[in-house]
C-alpha cells in the first residue's frame, strides 16, 4: 500500500507570527521587518534571513542587518520553490515535496520531516495555529486544488479536504478570511468556518478585469500583485474587499 502524504505544514511567519511592522520613523531606533507574499524566496524570521536557491537553504544571522553573516548552507532537495516560517519551524516546498525544519537552532535549521505530494505542482502555503492551506497549481495542463491540512499536531498533519480551483497562484490568510489568487479567474474570497476540519466556504470572486498573482493581507488592507502592477483593497469587512487604488504601468 502506498503511503501518500499530503501533509503540508506551513505558514507565512510575517503575517501571523510576532513580526512587528509598525516601526516609528520619528524614533531613533527602528524595529520593523518586512512582510512578503506567499510566493517569496527570501524570508526573515526573528534575527535570521533564510534564502533558497533551487537546491539549497542559506541561513544568515541579521541581528545586525547591515552585516549579514552566513551561518549555514544546506542541501534541501531539487526544484525548491517556496519558503515559510511559523512558530519556530521552517517549511520549504519543492515541486514534489514539503520539508519541515526546526528553528530551535535558528542558524542551522534541522530537518524534521519530508512529505511527498502525489501531484507535481507549484504550492504556496499559508496557515494558522490549526490549519494549513496550500494551493497546488498543475504545471502540466490546467487547474489545481486548494489543500486543507489539519496541523494541530505538526508531526501528524492530515489532509482534510481538497477543493478544485481553476488557476491558483498565491494566497493570503487573515483572521477567518482566506484570499486565493486565481490569475485570470480573479481573486477568490473564502471564509473559514469554526469547525475543526477547517474547510473554507467560498463567498465571492473579485475581478475588476485583473489577473491576480499574490496578496499580502495586513491590518485592514489587502495588497495584491496583479499583472501590470499592484492594487490595494480595504478589507475592514473581510468578505467584501473594496478597491482603493490600482497602480499599473
Amino acid at each position: 500500500m502506498k503511503n501518500i502524504f499530503f501533509c503540508i505544514i506551513s505558514a507565512i511567519s510575517f503575517l501571523l507570527s510576532g513580526c512587528s511592522k509598525s516601526g516609528s520613523d520619528s524614533s531613533s531606533t527602528v524595529n520593523s521587518t518586512s512582510t512578503a507574499g506567499s510566493l517569496a524566496r527570501f524570508i526573515i524570521v526573528g534575527n535570521y534571513l533564510y534564502t533558497i536557491s533551487h537546491q539549497n537553504l542559506k541561513s544568515f544571522n541579521i541581528t545586525d542587518p547591515a552585516n549579514p553573516v552566513l551561518e549555514s548552507e544546506q542541501s534541501i532537495g531539487q526544484q525548491i520553490e517556496t519558503i515559510y516560517g511559523f512558530k519556530g519551524n521552517l517549511f520549504i516546498g519543492s515541486s514534489t515535496d514539503m520539508y519541515a525544519y526546526s528553528l530551535t537552532n535558528p542558524g542551522k535549521p534541522a530537518k524534521l520531516s519530508q512529505l511527498t505530494y502525489w501531484v507535481r505542482g507549484k504550492d504556496p502555503v499559508v496557515a494558522n495555529d490549526t490549519i494549513a492551506f496550500s494551493t497546488v497549481r498543475n504545471t502540466t495542463g490546467s487547474g489545481g486544488v486548494l489543500n486543507i491540512i489539519n496541523i494541530k499536531n505538526i508531526n501528524s498533519a492530515t489532509l482534510v479536504n481538497s477543493i478544485a480551483l481553476q488557476s491558483p497562484y498565491g494566497l493570503g490568510l487573515i483572521d477567518t478570511a482566506l484570499y486565493i489568487c486565481e490569475h485570470m479567474n480573479g481573486l477568490k474570497v473564502y471564509t473559514l468556518p469554526t469547525k475543526s476540519n477547517g474547510t473554507p466556504t467560498y463567498k465571492k470572486t473579485i475581478s475588476n478585469s485583473e489577473i491576480y498573482y499574490d496578496v499580502i493581507p495586513y491590518n485592514n488592507l489587502l495588497y495584491a500583485y496583479i499583472a501590470g502592477g499592484n492594487c490595494i483593497f480595504d478589507i475592514t469587512d473581510r468578505m467584501n474587499p473594496v478597491l482603493l487604488s490600482k497602480t499599473k504601468n
Binding site: N31, S32, T33, S34, A36, H54, I62, P65, Y225
Partner: protein, 167 residues
C-alpha cells in the same frame, strides 16, 4: 531559472549542426551592472512580487530592480522611485536595511532615507544561482557564455552557426 549545473544541460556540442535559432548572451561591464543605485520613479513593465514594509510597498521589476511606493494613503499610492539593481530577484527589509541581490552578490542598502539610499554591505558571489549563465528557457540552443567578455546580464534570440550549448 535553470542554470547549466542541472543534469539536463548539455554543453560542448562538438559536431557541426549548422545554423540554429539560439540564445545569445548579452554582456555587461561589471562597473556598470555590479552596482545598486536610486533612480526617479519609472513605469512598471514586468511587475513582480510585492513586499510591504511600514508605509512602503515594494514591487519587483524582475531582473532589474525594485519599484518603491509610499502607500500611507492606500487610496493614492505615491511613486517614490526605483532602486536599480541588475538581476534583482528578491528583497527583505529589517530595521531600514534592505537586503537584495545585485547580479550574484547579496547587497544591503540603507533605506532610512528612501530618496538617498546607499549600499552599506556587499557579500560577493553569495547567490551563484542568480548569475545568468544560461537562459531560463528549455529545449533550446544557446551560445556558451565567455567569461572574458564580461558578466551575462541577459539573453536575446538570434541565429547562431554551430551553437555549442543546449539545454
Amino acid at each position: 531559472m535553470i542554470t547549466c549545473v542541472l543534469a539536463s544541460c548539455n554543453r560542448d556540442i562538438d559536431y557541426n549542426i549548422g545554423e540554429k535559432d539560439a540564445y545569445i548572451p548579452i554582456y555587461g561591464d561589471d562597473a556598470v551592472y555590479r552596482t545598486v543605485s536610486f533612480q526617479a520613479a519609472k513605469p512598471i513593465v514586468n511587475g513582480g512580487k510585492i513586499v510591504l514594509y511600514n508605509q512602503y510597498l515594494f514591487q519587483m521589476e524582475d531582473g532589474e530592480g525594485i519599484h518603491v511606493f509610499n502607500v500611507s494613503n492606500p487610496s493614492s499610492p505615491q511613486r517614490v522611485g526605483f532602486i536599480k539593481s541588475p538581476l534583482c530577484k528578491q528583497l527583505a527589509i529589517k530595521n531600514n536595511f534592505l537586503i537584495t541581490n545585485n547580479l550574484d552578490d547579496m547587497v544591503v542598502v540603507d533605506f532610512s532615507n528612501p530618496l538617498a539610499i546607499k549600499e552599506v554591505k556587499r557579500l560577493t558571489g553569495e547567490f551563484p544561482e542568480m548569475k545568468l549563465q544560461a537562459p531560463s528557457q528549455t529545449n533550446i540552443f544557446f551560445e556558451c557564455p565567455d567569461a572574458k567578455k564580461g558578466i551575462v546580464i541577459g539573453w536575446k534570440l538570434g541565429k547562431v552557426t554551430n551553437p555549442k550549448c543546449s539545454q
